[in-house]
Amino acid sequence: MTRTGLMAMVCGVVAAALPLAGPASADATDDYPIPHRIIITTCDAEQYLQAARDTSPVYYQRYMIDRNNRPLDVQQQAEDRIHWFFSLDPIARRQYSENTATNVYYENVATHWGNWAKIFFNNKGVVAKATDVCMNYPKGNMQVWDFASNS
Protein backbone atom coordinates (compact mmCIF):
# COMPACT_ATOMS: atom_id res chain seq x y z
CA MET A 1 0.00 0.00 0.00
CA THR A 2 1.34 3.45 -0.86
CA ARG A 3 1.86 6.06 1.78
CA THR A 4 -0.96 8.12 0.30
CA GLY A 5 -3.29 5.16 0.40
CA LEU A 6 -2.41 4.47 3.98
CA MET A 7 -3.06 8.08 4.99
CA ALA A 8 -6.41 8.04 3.25
CA MET A 9 -7.38 4.90 5.09
CA VAL A 10 -6.37 6.33 8.48
CA CYS A 11 -8.28 9.54 7.79
CA GLY A 12 -11.31 7.51 6.83
CA VAL A 13 -11.19 5.50 10.05
CA VAL A 14 -10.79 8.65 12.15
CA ALA A 15 -13.59 10.40 10.31
CA ALA A 16 -15.88 7.42 10.86
CA ALA A 17 -15.09 7.24 14.57
CA LEU A 18 -15.43 10.91 15.43
CA PRO A 19 -19.20 11.26 15.16
CA LEU A 20 -19.61 8.33 17.55
CA ALA A 21 -17.57 10.01 20.28
CA GLY A 22 -19.92 12.93 20.88
CA PRO A 23 -20.36 14.60 24.25
CA ALA A 24 -20.64 12.34 27.31
CA SER A 25 -24.22 11.61 28.24
CA ALA A 26 -25.45 12.07 31.80
CA ASP A 27 -28.85 10.52 31.29
CA ALA A 28 -30.21 7.90 33.63
CA THR A 29 -30.52 4.28 32.54
CA ASP A 30 -33.00 1.66 33.69
CA ASP A 31 -30.54 0.66 36.40
CA TYR A 32 -28.73 3.90 37.16
CA PRO A 33 -28.78 5.81 39.40
CA ILE A 34 -31.79 3.95 40.77
CA PRO A 35 -31.87 0.17 40.25
CA HIS A 36 -34.73 -1.13 38.13
CA ARG A 37 -35.93 -3.46 40.85
CA ILE A 38 -36.56 -0.54 43.20
CA ILE A 39 -38.45 1.21 40.45
CA ILE A 40 -40.83 -1.71 39.90
CA THR A 41 -41.14 -3.20 43.38
CA THR A 42 -44.57 -3.13 44.99
CA CYS A 43 -43.11 -3.32 48.50
CA ASP A 44 -43.23 -0.27 50.71
CA ALA A 45 -40.14 1.30 52.29
CA GLU A 46 -40.55 -0.61 55.55
CA GLN A 47 -40.98 -3.97 53.85
CA TYR A 48 -37.85 -3.30 51.83
CA LEU A 49 -35.90 -2.16 54.89
CA GLN A 50 -36.88 -5.23 56.89
CA ALA A 51 -35.76 -7.44 54.02
CA ALA A 52 -32.45 -5.59 53.68
CA ARG A 53 -31.93 -5.93 57.44
CA ASP A 54 -32.10 -9.70 57.03
CA THR A 55 -30.42 -10.18 53.65
CA SER A 56 -27.65 -7.54 53.79
CA PRO A 57 -27.24 -7.02 57.54
CA VAL A 58 -23.87 -5.31 57.47
CA TYR A 59 -25.02 -2.89 54.79
CA TYR A 60 -28.16 -2.19 56.82
CA GLN A 61 -26.09 -1.57 59.93
CA ARG A 62 -23.81 0.84 58.14
CA TYR A 63 -26.75 2.77 56.77
CA MET A 64 -28.50 2.95 60.13
CA ILE A 65 -25.33 3.97 61.97
CA ASP A 66 -24.79 6.70 59.40
CA ARG A 67 -28.41 7.75 59.82
CA ASN A 68 -28.14 7.86 63.60
CA ASN A 69 -25.23 10.25 63.24
CA ARG A 70 -27.43 12.79 61.44
CA PRO A 71 -29.53 15.47 63.12
CA LEU A 72 -33.05 14.31 63.90
CA ASP A 73 -34.66 16.66 61.39
CA VAL A 74 -32.44 15.29 58.61
CA GLN A 75 -33.32 11.74 59.61
CA GLN A 76 -36.98 12.66 59.40
CA GLN A 77 -36.53 14.35 56.03
CA ALA A 78 -34.89 11.21 54.65
CA GLU A 79 -37.67 9.01 55.99
CA ASP A 80 -40.37 11.28 54.57
CA ARG A 81 -38.59 11.50 51.23
CA ILE A 82 -38.27 7.74 50.81
CA HIS A 83 -41.94 7.37 51.72
CA TRP A 84 -42.70 9.88 48.99
CA PHE A 85 -40.53 7.94 46.53
CA PHE A 86 -42.27 4.65 47.29
CA SER A 87 -45.64 6.35 46.84
CA LEU A 88 -44.78 7.01 43.17
CA ASP A 89 -45.64 4.67 40.33
CA PRO A 90 -42.79 3.14 38.27
CA ILE A 91 -43.00 5.82 35.57
CA ALA A 92 -42.65 8.62 38.10
CA ARG A 93 -39.84 6.77 39.88
CA ARG A 94 -38.00 6.44 36.58
CA GLN A 95 -38.49 10.15 35.98
CA TYR A 96 -37.14 10.91 39.44
CA SER A 97 -34.11 8.76 38.60
CA GLU A 98 -33.62 10.82 35.45
CA ASN A 99 -33.96 14.07 37.38
CA THR A 100 -31.39 13.12 39.99
CA ALA A 101 -28.97 11.86 37.32
CA THR A 102 -29.10 15.05 35.29
CA ASN A 103 -29.27 17.61 38.08
CA VAL A 104 -27.01 17.15 41.06
CA TYR A 105 -29.05 19.68 43.07
CA TYR A 106 -32.41 18.10 42.28
CA GLU A 107 -32.62 16.07 45.49
CA ASN A 108 -32.70 18.52 48.37
CA VAL A 109 -32.30 15.86 51.09
CA ALA A 110 -28.98 14.84 49.51
CA THR A 111 -27.62 18.32 50.19
CA HIS A 112 -28.02 17.60 53.91
CA TRP A 113 -27.05 13.93 53.85
CA GLY A 114 -25.33 12.66 50.71
CA ASN A 115 -26.04 8.98 51.41
CA TRP A 116 -29.60 9.49 52.59
CA ALA A 117 -30.96 6.69 50.37
CA LYS A 118 -27.88 4.53 50.09
CA ILE A 119 -29.54 1.29 51.14
CA PHE A 120 -32.38 1.90 48.68
CA PHE A 121 -30.52 3.08 45.60
CA ASN A 122 -26.79 2.51 45.66
CA ASN A 123 -26.16 -1.21 45.44
CA LYS A 124 -27.85 -3.46 42.90
CA GLY A 125 -26.89 -6.61 44.80
CA VAL A 126 -28.45 -5.37 48.02
CA VAL A 127 -31.55 -4.27 46.14
CA ALA A 128 -31.83 -7.58 44.30
CA LYS A 129 -31.64 -9.66 47.47
CA ALA A 130 -34.08 -7.47 49.38
CA THR A 131 -36.67 -7.08 46.62
CA ASP A 132 -36.69 -10.87 46.18
CA VAL A 133 -38.26 -11.33 49.61
CA CYS A 134 -39.61 -7.96 50.76
CA MET A 135 -43.21 -8.93 49.99
CA ASN A 136 -43.03 -11.46 52.84
CA TYR A 137 -42.70 -8.74 55.48
CA PRO A 138 -45.46 -6.65 57.07
CA LYS A 139 -46.22 -3.33 55.41
CA GLY A 140 -45.77 -0.10 57.31
CA ASN A 141 -43.74 -1.59 60.15
CA MET A 142 -42.26 1.68 61.39
CA GLN A 143 -40.31 -0.10 64.08
CA VAL A 144 -37.71 -1.07 61.47
CA TRP A 145 -36.47 2.53 61.53
CA ASP A 146 -35.50 2.15 65.18
CA PHE A 147 -31.94 0.93 64.96
CA ALA A 148 -31.52 0.21 68.66
CA SER A 149 -34.21 -2.45 68.60
CA ASN A 150 -33.55 -3.68 65.07
CA SER A 151 -29.85 -4.25 64.82
Partner: protein, 120 residues
Protein backbone atom coordinates in the same frame (compact mmCIF):
# COMPACT_ATOMS: atom_id res chain seq x y z
CA UNK B 1 36.54 0.44 90.27
CA UNK B 2 33.61 1.11 92.56
CA UNK B 3 32.18 3.51 90.03
CA UNK B 4 32.53 0.83 87.37
CA UNK B 5 30.57 -1.62 89.53
CA UNK B 6 27.82 0.90 90.12
CA UNK B 7 27.48 1.58 86.43
CA UNK B 8 27.33 -2.15 85.64
CA UNK B 9 24.60 -2.70 88.25
CA UNK B 10 22.59 0.22 86.95
CA UNK B 11 22.89 -1.15 83.43
CA UNK B 12 21.81 -4.61 84.58
CA UNK B 13 18.80 -3.17 86.41
CA UNK B 14 17.80 -1.20 83.32
CA UNK B 15 18.15 -4.30 81.18
CA UNK B 16 15.91 -6.30 83.49
CA UNK B 17 13.35 -3.52 83.42
CA UNK B 18 13.47 -3.51 79.65
CA UNK B 19 13.03 -7.28 79.44
CA UNK B 20 10.09 -7.17 81.84
CA UNK B 21 8.48 -4.50 79.67
CA UNK B 22 8.93 -6.63 76.56
CA UNK B 23 7.60 -9.66 78.38
CA UNK B 24 4.48 -7.80 79.45
CA UNK B 25 3.79 -6.60 75.95
CA UNK B 26 4.04 -10.11 74.55
CA UNK B 27 1.27 -11.42 76.78
CA UNK B 28 -1.30 -8.93 75.46
CA UNK B 29 -4.55 -10.68 74.60
CA UNK B 30 -5.42 -11.40 70.98
CA UNK B 31 -8.55 -9.57 69.92
CA UNK B 32 -11.76 -11.60 70.11
CA UNK B 33 -12.44 -11.19 66.39
CA UNK B 34 -9.19 -12.97 65.58
CA UNK B 35 -9.99 -15.72 68.05
CA UNK B 36 -13.46 -16.01 66.52
CA UNK B 37 -11.95 -16.28 63.03
CA UNK B 38 -9.53 -18.95 64.22
CA UNK B 39 -12.41 -20.90 65.72
CA UNK B 40 -14.33 -20.65 62.43
CA UNK B 41 -11.30 -21.98 60.57
CA UNK B 42 -11.48 -25.18 62.61
CA UNK B 43 -14.97 -25.64 61.16
CA UNK B 44 -13.77 -24.97 57.62
CA UNK B 45 -15.51 -21.58 57.55
CA UNK B 46 -13.39 -18.88 55.95
CA UNK B 47 -14.10 -15.49 54.43
CA UNK B 48 -13.33 -11.94 55.53
CA UNK B 49 -12.57 -11.75 59.25
CA UNK B 50 -14.30 -8.41 59.80
CA UNK B 51 -17.43 -9.48 57.97
CA UNK B 52 -17.71 -12.75 59.89
CA UNK B 53 -17.12 -10.98 63.20
CA UNK B 54 -19.73 -8.35 62.43
CA UNK B 55 -22.21 -10.99 61.34
CA UNK B 56 -21.64 -12.89 64.57
CA UNK B 57 -22.26 -9.74 66.61
CA UNK B 58 -25.37 -8.92 64.61
CA UNK B 59 -26.68 -12.45 65.19
CA UNK B 60 -26.24 -11.81 68.92
CA UNK B 61 -27.97 -8.42 68.78
CA UNK B 62 -30.88 -9.93 66.88
CA UNK B 63 -31.33 -12.54 69.59
CA UNK B 64 -31.21 -9.88 72.30
CA UNK B 65 -33.69 -7.71 70.40
CA UNK B 66 -35.97 -10.65 69.70
CA UNK B 67 -35.71 -10.15 65.93
CA UNK B 68 -34.75 -13.81 65.88
CA UNK B 69 -37.00 -15.43 68.43
CA UNK B 70 -35.26 -18.79 68.62
CA UNK B 71 -32.07 -20.51 67.50
CA UNK B 72 -33.70 -21.79 64.32
CA UNK B 73 -34.36 -18.24 63.18
CA UNK B 74 -30.80 -17.28 64.13
CA UNK B 75 -29.39 -20.19 62.16
CA UNK B 76 -31.51 -19.21 59.18
CA UNK B 77 -30.23 -15.65 59.40
CA UNK B 78 -26.64 -16.90 59.54
CA UNK B 79 -27.18 -19.27 56.63
CA UNK B 80 -28.66 -16.47 54.51
CA UNK B 81 -25.57 -14.35 54.99
CA UNK B 82 -22.75 -16.89 54.83
CA UNK B 83 -21.42 -18.64 51.74
CA UNK B 84 -24.10 -20.79 50.12
CA UNK B 85 -21.81 -23.82 49.93
CA UNK B 86 -21.64 -24.02 53.71
CA UNK B 87 -23.34 -27.02 55.22
CA UNK B 88 -26.17 -26.74 57.72
CA UNK B 89 -23.77 -28.05 60.34
CA UNK B 90 -21.28 -25.25 59.60
CA UNK B 91 -24.00 -22.64 59.96
CA UNK B 92 -24.90 -23.99 63.38
CA UNK B 93 -21.22 -24.10 64.31
CA UNK B 94 -20.92 -20.44 63.30
CA UNK B 95 -23.88 -19.58 65.49
CA UNK B 96 -22.49 -21.54 68.42
CA UNK B 97 -19.12 -19.82 68.12
CA UNK B 98 -20.76 -16.39 67.79
CA UNK B 99 -22.64 -17.00 71.05
CA UNK B 100 -19.48 -18.26 72.76
CA UNK B 101 -17.45 -15.22 71.75
CA UNK B 102 -19.93 -12.37 71.68
CA UNK B 103 -22.99 -13.17 73.77
CA UNK B 104 -22.53 -16.13 76.12
CA UNK B 105 -25.70 -14.96 77.89
CA UNK B 106 -27.62 -16.39 74.96
CA UNK B 107 -26.42 -19.96 75.48
CA UNK B 108 -29.89 -20.81 76.72
CA UNK B 109 -31.25 -20.12 73.25
CA UNK B 110 -29.04 -22.83 71.79
CA UNK B 111 -29.65 -25.20 74.65
CA UNK B 112 -33.40 -24.93 74.18
CA UNK B 113 -32.97 -26.36 70.67
CA UNK B 114 -30.60 -29.06 71.90
CA UNK B 115 -33.08 -30.15 74.58
CA UNK B 116 -35.87 -30.22 72.05
CA UNK B 117 -33.66 -32.51 69.96
CA UNK B 118 -34.61 -30.58 66.87
CA UNK B 119 -32.84 -30.21 63.60
CA UNK B 120 -32.77 -27.19 61.35
Amino acid sequence: MARHHLAARALAAASIGFLVAIGNSSIAQADPDTDFANQLHTYGIYGPKDYNAWLGKIACQRMSNNIDRDAYQSAKFVATNLARQNTTEQNWQFLGAAIDFYCPDNHATLEAVAHAGGHA
